[in-house]
């Protein structure tokens, strides 16, 4: 019997027994749905991390000097953790030194931050990111000013209590009035609003617009860090090779400032987007390793269901098998008929799973900040798995059917 004939027969059988068929393809359906949805989401995250996240948080061709890494890869002993915490912090003098050395080739900014409470006119806003920065910060982070202006170098030198606020803060306090020139209270200190930043969007649903930015030399310094300490010294180069060169130079400079002998490890850290991407790659790897298990379990369960249904079908259709054999069906004809039936069932499940998985990925994309990107290979794998499960778990029932004795089968009631 030709293959397409067998497929037609199998489809007819599925149509004739809709409910039973549906139950038997649930396993393959769930497995493939998992596969498509998870791969799409992980894939989307991957693209997001590489294209958006790293750029937004770190900026292009930008590296940051920190006293210890912000993202940590791998396990670390308590001892190592303590050692990291004991490292000396970066200082304003470090910033001045780096700026002095690299200012002709790069934009350099100092940055410190904390979470604070902000008040205006009887209202308050908690958990606002307070940032004490140099005026170069706006250029490095490409923060556009929607209203008013950014603060200037002179204001930073003077330590003026002026602030640029984010969209969220502006909306909360100044929905009906012009924020420019108003005095807000950040923790215990008064700042005059000189500008409102354009929206920065969000990362993983967390708004990036809830901030107050003031000169690191203003009273903001008292809110974010101990005296003279800065969190980050950020350096933005013109190009990637330039950035690498500047990193070497900054490293050498910092080592000299910290009096490190050759062979002694750095007690500070130069961070780039790669650090975060490495961290993400590690998470993605774990997800991809867990995926085959999830998919595998549902496919095995689905396969066993299909095997059971097919064994039932063989028992129910013993007489049909007898008739077919009497009319000249060989073992392999019967084998093929039941194999194709099992494979058609599981493939139908897989196709439904692909559809549902894609819909789920789209739904996640629409309802959450996570992007989704459907990868063609996962669809191919889904179809292959569908066919494969049917064939593997169909072999036993089909071979039982093919070995039935025609006389006994014909007499079967």
């Amino acid at each position: 019997m030709p293959l397409f004939e067998a497929v037609r027969l199998a489809l007819g059988m599925i149509r004739a027994q809709k409910l039973k068929s549906f139950f038997s393809l649930v396993g393959a359906f769930v497995g493939v749905t998992f596969l498509i949805a998870v791969v799409s989401i992980v894939n989307g995250m991957d693209r997001y991390m590489k294209e958006d996240f790293a750029g937004k948080l770190f900026g292009v061709n930008t590296f940051t000097v920190v006293y210890r890494p912000r993202v940590q890869i791998g396990d670390m002993s308590l001892e190592e953790r303590r050692a990291l915490r004991r490292r000396p912090r970066l200082t304003e003098d470090d910033y001045d030194a780096v700026r002095e050395r690299l200012a002709d080739r790069a934009i350099i900014a100092a940055e410190s931050q904390n979470r604070v409470m902000v008040y205006y006119g009887g209202r308050r806003s908690r958990n606002v990111t307070a940032q004490g920065v140099s005026e170069t910060f706006f250029r490095i982070r490409s923060i556009d000013i929607a209203q008013g202006r950014a603060f200037t170098g002179q204001e930073v030198e003077r330590g003026a209590n002026v602030a640029v606020i984010g969209q969220d803060v502006a909306k909360r306090f100044f929905a009906e009035v012009d924020p420019l020139g108003r005095w807000i209270r950040v923790a215990n200190f008064q700042f005059r609003v000189v500008g409102v930043a354009a929206s920065q969007g969000n990362v993983f649903g967390e708004s990036l617009d809830k901030f107050v930015i003031a000169p690191y030399t203003s009273q903001m310094a008292k809110l974010v860090n101990p005296h003279n300490i800065v969190d980050f010294i950020t350096v933005k180069a013109a190009s990637l090779p330039e950035m690498r060169a500047l990193m070497t130079e900054a490293e050498a400079l910092m080592r000299t400032r910290r009096h490190l002998r050759p062979g002694q490890p750095n007690n500070f850290h130069l961070e780039t987007a790669d650090d975060v991407l490495d961290f993400w790659a590690k998470i993605a790897k774990v997800l991809y390793m867990a995926l085959p298990m999830l998919v595998g379990i549902s496919l095995v369960v689905g396969g066993i269901v299909i095997m059971n249904i097919m064994l039932m079908a063989v028992a129910e259709r013993t007489r049909e098998i007898g008739i077919r054999k009497a009319l000249g069906a060989r073992r392999r004809d019967i084998l093929r008929q039941f194999l194709v039936e099992a494979a058609t069932l599981s493939t139908a499940g897989a196709l439904l799973g692909i559809g549902t998985g894609m819909a789920m990925a789209k739904a996640v994309e629409a309802l959450s900040p996570l992007p989704a990107s459907i990868s063609p290979w996962s669809i191919g794998v889904g179809i292959l798995l569908g066919v494969g499960v049917g064939v593997v778990f169909g072999v036993y029932p089909a071979s039982r059917a093919s070995r039935l004795d025609p006389i006994a089968a014909l007499r079967f009631e």
């Binding site: 004939e5 004739a16 007489r319 077919r324 054999k325 009319l327 000249g328 073992r331 006389i407």
Partner: protein
């Protein structure tokens, strides 16, 4: 002298029933000529079903030999037997044995599917076979939409469609009333007359057996009588 289409020599079939061995056939020598119309009779347990299964290549003998069309089939493998059943034998069963979910046309096409005939040719041959059994207007009906007589006609059309050497009818009227039985016997007689089709029929009813030209009676696994009936040529 007519061609011998079936020849058996010492055909023996034993079944193990637990510790006991049941000897259903105990060395049957039988020759059936091409174009003959033979009834095999006998009480239940006489071995007539067993010989039917052996002649129909659904079973293989414990001992003895069987030639169909000059080819020894007693030592064939399962798949070879399947091919012989497909090409040489057309079955008509007491319980019709049609596929319930398939139309009359599709049922008749079935042996041609296993013969590897392309779909279009299959359809035409099946239509012709159904028409020759008087079912031209019932092709798209499923078995449960047909009367018993019509179902048996579909089965006969299915037996015919591969143009087999023999038609093997196992109690073909066993599930039919007497009027319908006569109708079916008429169809078989017509086949025999117009096509010269060899027909072997197992029955326990004498008036049905009377339609045949030769009656072979089995008793205890052996041929007890072999006679040419009134209609014998």
């Amino acid at each position: 002298m007519t061609d011998v289409i079936i020849k058996t020599l010492g055909l023996t079939r034993e079944y193990a029933m637990g510790a006991e061995v049941v000897r259903a056939l105990r060395g049957v020598d039988l020759e059936i000529a091409s174009n003959d119309y033979v009834a095999i009779m006998g009480p239940s347990g006489s071995g007539k079903s067993t010989i039917m299964n052996l002649i129909g290549c659904l079973d293989t003998p414990t001992a003895g030999q069987y030639w169909l069309n000059g080819v020894e089939v007693s030592k064939m493998t399962d798949d070879e037997l399947a091919r012989v059943r497909n090409q040489e034998i057309g079955f008509v069963f007491q319980t019709f044995n049609l596929l319930p979910r398939a139309t009359a046309l599709h049922n008749v096409e079935l042996p041609l599917v296993y013969a590897g005939i392309p779909a279009k040719a299959r359809r035409e041959r099946a239509k012709a076979a159904l028409a020759s059994c008087g079912l031209a207007d019932r092709m798209d009906h499923k078995p449960n939409e047909l009367s018993g007589g019509q179902r048996q006609r579909v089965a006969i059309a299915r037996a015919l469609v591969t143009e087999p050497s023999i038609i093997l009818a196992d109690e073909p009227t066993g599930n039919l009333d007497s009027t319908t039985s006569e109708e079916i016997m008429k169809v078989l007689a017509e086949l025999h007359e117009t096509r010269g089709q060899t027909i072997i029929m197992v029955t326990h009813e004498h008036d049905i057996a009377a339609h045949a030209h030769r009656v072979v009676t089995l008793h205890d696994g052996l041929v007890s009588s072999d006679s040419r009936g009134a209609k014998a040529a």
